[in-house]
Structure formats: C-alpha cells, structure tokens
C-alpha cells in the first residue's frame, strides 16, 4: 500500500524529489516476467545531472530544464509561465483549443474515474503524481487563483490555495511529459473533461511562451524538419540515394524491378511516410512500393523539403510549429497536383494531417487526405493482390495506434486485412478504441535523454507489454515465433525499445513489424519470405 497521499498543493513545496520510483512497486507483468527477476534496475540520475537540472519531480528527466542561476531568473520564468497561461485563455492566441480547454478546466467533478483508465498511473503502481487529474488540477488551481477576479480571496474555500513558485513550474514542465496524450482517460470521464488535452495545453505554455520543450521534439524535431526537410535530418539528396539503394534491395529480396516514382506531377496519390522508416525499417516503404506497383496505382513520392517526412511533432506541444508543417505538406501536394495525400504507417501523422489540420489547411491547399489503412484494405479485400495466408503461419496480434484509432476512427481496415492474411491472428484486450498506448505516444518514442528511455520502457510502455504477453500466453515459448503488427513508426520505435529492455525475443520469441510487410510476406508471387526474424 502507498504511504502518504500527495495532493495537488504539494507540488509547490520545495523538495529534493516528490516521488521515488521503485520497480518493485510497478504493476506486475505476466509470465515469464511474473517473478520480477527480469525487471531491469531503474537507472538513477547521476549527481552532476541532479546538480545541473531540475529533477525534483520523480528523478526522471524528459525536458531537463537547467536550474536557474538566480532568484531573479526563477521569478522571470514564473512570470512567463503565468503570461503563457493567460494567453492560452484568449481566442487570438489559442483559438485552436480555447473552447475544449475552457470546458475541461471548468467542469472536473474530481470523481477520479479517469485514474484507472491511465496506463501510466496504473503501471507505476498508482503514483499520485501520475494521476490524469494531478497536473490538470494543479493548472486549474493556478488559473483559478491567479487569473480570476477574487480568485485569491476565495482560494481557501474553492480549494485553489496553491502557491505558484518556481518549483511548481519546474515540476509541471516535467510532468507535462509524463502523459502520452493517449486520451484514454478522457474516454471514461462521465462529464467529458479531457486531461490529455490539458497536458497538451500545458506543453504549449512551455513551448510557445517560454521556449521550453524536449530537444528531440523541438530543436532536433520540428525545427530541423522545417529547415532540413525531415526531423531525422535526412536531406533530399540523401533520400534519393537511400531510395536507389532500396530499389536494389527490392530486386535482391524479391526479384522485382521497381523504381520509386519521384515528384511525378499529376499522380493520383502522393504517399508520405514517416521518414524514420527509411532509416530504421526500410522494408516498410519498400513493401508499400511493391504493393502499389502490383496494384497498378498511379502514385508518387516527393523529394521536396518536408514532402517525404509525414511527421508533425507540433501535434504534441506547439500549435505554431504544427501549423507550419501541416501547411508545407499541403502546399507540396498542391504543387504536384495529386488527387490525394495518402499517409504511410504513422499514427500521429495520420491524425495530424487528417483531423487536426482539417481546420488549418484551407481553401486551395485543402487537398484530401486518406489513411493508408483504408487504401490497403481496398487493395487486399477487393482481390487486387494475389495473397496466400498460409505464408503468414505464425501467431500475430495487432497494436492499435491511439492517434489512428481512438482519435481518428480508423479501426477496422487494418483488422480486415490481418484477418484475411494472418490465420493465427488474436486480439489484445482491450483493443480498438479502448486500446492502450504503446508508451511512446506524444513524442516519447523519440525522446532519449538521460534516464527517460528507462522510464518509458518500464512505466509508460508497461501496460502494452503486459497486453502483448497476455495475448501470446498460449504460445509464449520462445521457440514459437510471434509477431506484433504495429502500423505506426512511433509505436514500432517504442515496441523495439520495450522488447530490447525485457529481452522479449530471447525470452518469448516476440518480434514486431508493420502491416505492409505482412501483406508482402503473403504475396504468392514473391517466393522468399519477406519478413526476417527478429526485427531489431
């Protein structure tokens, strides 16, 4: 049982560290991890890191804010935080989310129903600071006390008597990155309050007003994306080289002569992948090319800056960066004159350009966007491809990327495909719109500073790992090769880390892949197995 309860006001109390994370408290995993012996030790921060950065939340660093040198600096940051919060509540600065945010701030009944829906809170062994309501309540209290008329006067009665000081702001910055924005909590809220949204808005205060965000998401992420064309740093020239190399690879693996169509004006489809695929899982864009060519589609890739990287990290932390990337994507499609943009296997890119950007890319650049899941379902289920499910004779389960499923409603297409081509398919529980996040959502999959990866694999990805192990309990022996299909680059990245962390291939024979790889693996005309085990 837990010791003392931590309430929202406690965040303002200066302390060395609010909670201590101990794997012994974490949610138990199923066989063969049930004894807890294979739980890697939790990496503690080094003394010099503790001196340099604000580590008072949980001893984990995602953002890593350097400690301010003077009291004056601290006060200035606090002032900026408050001015950011104020801007968040104005229509000019935040028309994008003003209504949803205001409603979520005004209506929480503090019933705590949402807590049990949160994989991070549950996985951590129910640490109070990870409750979906915790950071929301802190922000709500600050807004009510410091921005409302008579807020201070009534603070005691309304429960908003929180102290806004530097320790509060510093802890909030880290706490904003202990939630994957999966919005599972919002789904269970009887009122309709969205704690995931509040986290998202909190991140925006730090980024849009204070210039604070994890380096992997901002400087190396959206800034690099806009400047170099891809958040991976992949420049157009290098992309072309890579694609030539992949053409050779396709030839070698399948005997097929396929040329990636590049910048083809007037093509029906502009296909955009998460550029991480080219570097980490090139068999995915290759498989797309094989399928699209076999189906005779009129498609193209773009080599324009940004045109070959579908990611949009702004979705997680910054509306301005979001809008910039979304508009560039749309402009490229417009320039090529394609009929539609098809988004490759990347969940957040799906939601970014289809759902969120729908009210940003407007008028002449409003080119229709379509999920590759939908298009692939059409190709697979209409019989345009010659497929033999027996070629996928191994147990398969399907991971639902939150952005694609709960947050966009693309649920069935990928299932219809898998049911058709994977005879040993089994669902995880729960799945579909009630799924659990892979643990890598909202940027976590690419964030790798200090001991954050450790936290990601053992806390935020823990629930997913549990589900996967449960789905395969009947075939858990490592001699039986098993596959998790994750049609999303970020989810794959997160799964790769979890599986490595827990040695899942050696201990259980579990690997992961995308959806198109399974389709190509089932293609009758391709003689050699397309999937190689394990994917690391």
């Amino acid at each position: 049982m837990k010791a003392e309860k931590i309430n929202p006001k406690d965040i303002s109390r200066p302390s060395e560290q609010m909670v201590e994370l101990n794997p012994a408290d974490f949610m138990k995993l199923p066989y063969p991890y049930d004894k807890g012996e294979d739980e890697p030790a939790f990496k503690r921060l080094k003394e010099d890191q503790k001196k340099k950065y604000e580590t008072s939340l949980d001893g984990v660093l995602a953002v890593g804010i350097p400690r301010p040198a003077t009291k004056g600096e601290e006060d200035e940051l606090v002032r900026k935080f408050l001015s950011g919060l104020e801007k968040l509540l104005t229509k000019e600065n935040n028309w994008t989310f003003l209504q949803p945010l205001t409603l979520s701030l005004e209506y929480c009944a503090k019933c705590q129903t949402c807590n049990d829906a949160c994989p991070i809170y549950i996985s951590s062994g129910k640490k109070d600071i990870y409750r979906p309501t915790y950071r929301s309540e802190v922000l709500r209290m600050i807004a009510n006390k410091y921005l409302k008329k008579s807020g201070k006067l009534l603070a005691k009665f309304t429960g908003n008597d929180i102290e806004l000081n530097w320790t509060t702001v510093a802890k909030l910055a880290e706490l904003a990155y202990r939630c994957t924005l999966c919005r599972r909590c919002a789904q269970t809220c009887p009122i309709g309050v969205d704690n995931g949204l509040i986290t998202h808005e909190l991140r925006k205060i730090f980024s849009q007003e204070m210039g604070i965000a994890p380096g992997e998401i901002h400087t190396l992420g959206s800034v690099q994306h806009l400047k170099k064309g891809s958040s991976t740093g992949l420049m157009p020239v290098a992309l072309k080289d890579t694609l030539e190399f992949l053409e050779d690879d396709i030839k070698e693996r399948t005997g097929l002569d396929i040329k990636f169509p590049l910048d083809k004006e007037g093509a029906d489809i502009l296909l955009i992948h998460n550029a991480g695929e080219y570097l980490s899982w090139p068999e995915n864009p290759m498989a797309f090319a094989i399928i699209f060519e076999a189906a005779g589609l009129n498609w193209t890739l773009s080599t324009d800056l940004l045109g070959y990287d579908a990611v949009n990290y702004g979705l997680w932390y910054d509306d301005v960066q979001f809008a910039r990337v979304a508009v560039r994507h749309a402009q490229i499609a417009k320039k090529l004159g394609v009929k539609k943009i098809v988004i490759g296997e990347c969940g957040h890119a799906h939601k970014a350009i289809s759902v969120i950007a729908d009210r940003i890319i407007n008028e002449e650049i409003n080119i229709p966007r379509e999920s590759s899941m939908t298009l692939l379902e059409d190709l697979v289920c209409s019989g345009k491809l010659n497929l033999d499910p027996k070629k996928n004779a191994f147990p398969v389960t399907l991971h639902d990327p939150c952005n694609m499923v709960r947050l966009m409603g693309v649920v069935e297409p990928q299932r219809k495909i898998i049911r058709k081509i994977c005879p040993q398919f089994r669902e995880m529980e729960p799945h579909g719109v009630r799924n659990y996040c892979c643990g890598g959502g909202s940027g976590f999959a690419i964030m790798s500073s200090m001991n954050f990866p450790n936290w990601r694999s053992s806390v935020s990805g823990r629930m997913k790992f549990k589900q996967i192990l449960e789905a395969f309990q009947d075939v858990i022996d490592p001699s039986i090769k098993k596959m998790v299909c994750a049609p999303c680059s970020n989810c794959k990245g997160a799964l790769r880390e979890i599986f490595n962390y827990y040695n899942a291939w050696e201990k259980c024979g579990i690997s992961y892949t995308g959806l198109v790889e399974l389709i190509v693996n089932a293609m009758v005309d391709i003689k050699e197995p397309y999937i190689e085990w394990p994917i690391m």
Binding site: N93, Q99, L103, C108, Q208, E209, V320, A323, R324, E363
Partner: protein
Amino acid sequence: MLLQLLSYLALVVFAVGILTRVVKYLRMPLHVRWELYPIPHEKGREYGGSYFEEVNWWEKPKEKSFIGQIKFMVPEILFVRGLYHDNRKLWWASFPFHFGIYLVIGWLVLLLIGAILNIAGLSPESAPATFLQSFAVIFGAVGFVLGVAGCIGLLMFRIFDSDLRSFAAPKDYFNLVFILSIFLTGLIAWSSSDPSFIIFRDYIKGVITFSPVTIESSLVLAHIILLSLFLMYLPFTHMTHFFAKYFMWDKVRWDDERNLRGSAMEAKVKQVLNYRQNWSAPHIKPGKTWAETATEEVE
C-alpha cells in the same frame, strides 16, 4: 411576500447566470477538431469507426445517425451509464443522486401543471387534479429519498476514499451538504407536514399569480428558501455540467464536421486564421496572423 420575492430573484439569477454561461461558450471561436471515438452519430460504426475508413471519403455524402446518438444519450443521461461501466462503486451513489434530482425536477413540473390547471379553473378535488397530485407525491417522495441517499453516499466517498479526499476542497463538501439540506427538508416536510404536497402546489400558484401565500410549516419554508438560494448559486459552479455537457460532447468530442471546399466551414477557418497571435517564444514572431505565422520563412 418576502419569500416570493426570493423565489423571483432566484429564478432571474438562475436564468441570467445560465444564459451568460451559454453565451460565453457559444461565442467562442471555431477550434480545431479534437474528437474522440466512438462517435455515436457515425452510422453503422458502433465499434468506434469513422468516415476515414472509406476510400475517397470526401466524395461520399456524410450520413449522420440521429438514432445512434439518442441510443447513446438516453441511458447516459438517465442512468449515468458511463460511470456504471467505468466506476461502479461511485455509481451506487451518483446514480441515486442524479436520478433523485430528475425526479424532484419532475415533481416541480407536476406541481406547476397542477397549479396552472387550478388557476385555469380545475378544482383541486376533481379526479384529474388528484390523479396528477398523486403522481407528484410519488416523484417527490422517491426523489427526496434517492437524493438524500445519493448525497450521503457521495459525501462518504469524499470523506473516506483517500483518492477523492486528497483532491477535495471545502467547496466540494459545502455543495453536497447544501444539496443534502434541500433533499432532507423536502423529505421531512413531506413526511411531517405536507403529505400530498398541497402547500407546495399552492405556493407555486401564488408565485405564478403574484399573490401572497402564508406558509405555516417551517420545514416547507426552509425547503423553499434553500432551493431558491441554491438556484442562485448553481450557475456559478461546475454543477452547470448538465448543460455544459452539450458543448463538451457535441461541440468537442463528437465534432467531426469536415472542411470541404466551398463549405461554411471553409469560411469559418479563414476567419480564425486571421486572428493575430502574440506568443513570445524565440521561434514565433508575435503580432502576425495565424495564416502569416504558418507560412512565414522560419529561421
């Protein structure tokens, strides 16, 4: 007459308070989409799918299922279904609490109808009037009992469940005690001094006809005063979720309205893109419109 004045005041404050809040939400600008599936008006996709599951979805007409929405909303509103599934233990208190409120509202409506019929000339002793009044008794009595039970249950949770207690403010206890006092005075007034709610009905009649009514029973009096005060307090609390839910669900969670070329949505988007932002992080130039900000060359 003082009592009646309080009731008039309560009704006015309540109406103006609620209206102000509604107008505030209505006047908020268009926001980006932020829906959450399942969306019950998605026809034939109860598992949580959307029109994005269709190839070339923009070429197809959007079919909204009104029935789907109703099928979702009725059990949600009447029986607090979400909580039943996701937080059963709290549901045991929350359901009687909410259902008690619905019944009490029904009670008031029945009394109001009775009063109007009476003014219109129907004798209170006539068969239809007594029939109506006996319904009012059922609604009122059951409503008060459920309400009292629900309030006590919710209070117990706030006090004894450590997860709830660590977030609770004095205001939260105050609200529950306030509502409990209304249910309780109603219940005792009914059982001790006004078993067929005749006093209450006649008071409402007095309110409608602007004629003074003297109330002998101090419990009835207390109930009317508390209820009037509560009506004035309610618009300024989160308990207005009864209508805010419309915005939270219909205007956020279920808002999947698409932006098609030439649509009204397109014009609305154009308008919001012309707002001028004023953010001050280094990568943003304040003072520019969102359209400019999104398209400017970035350093």
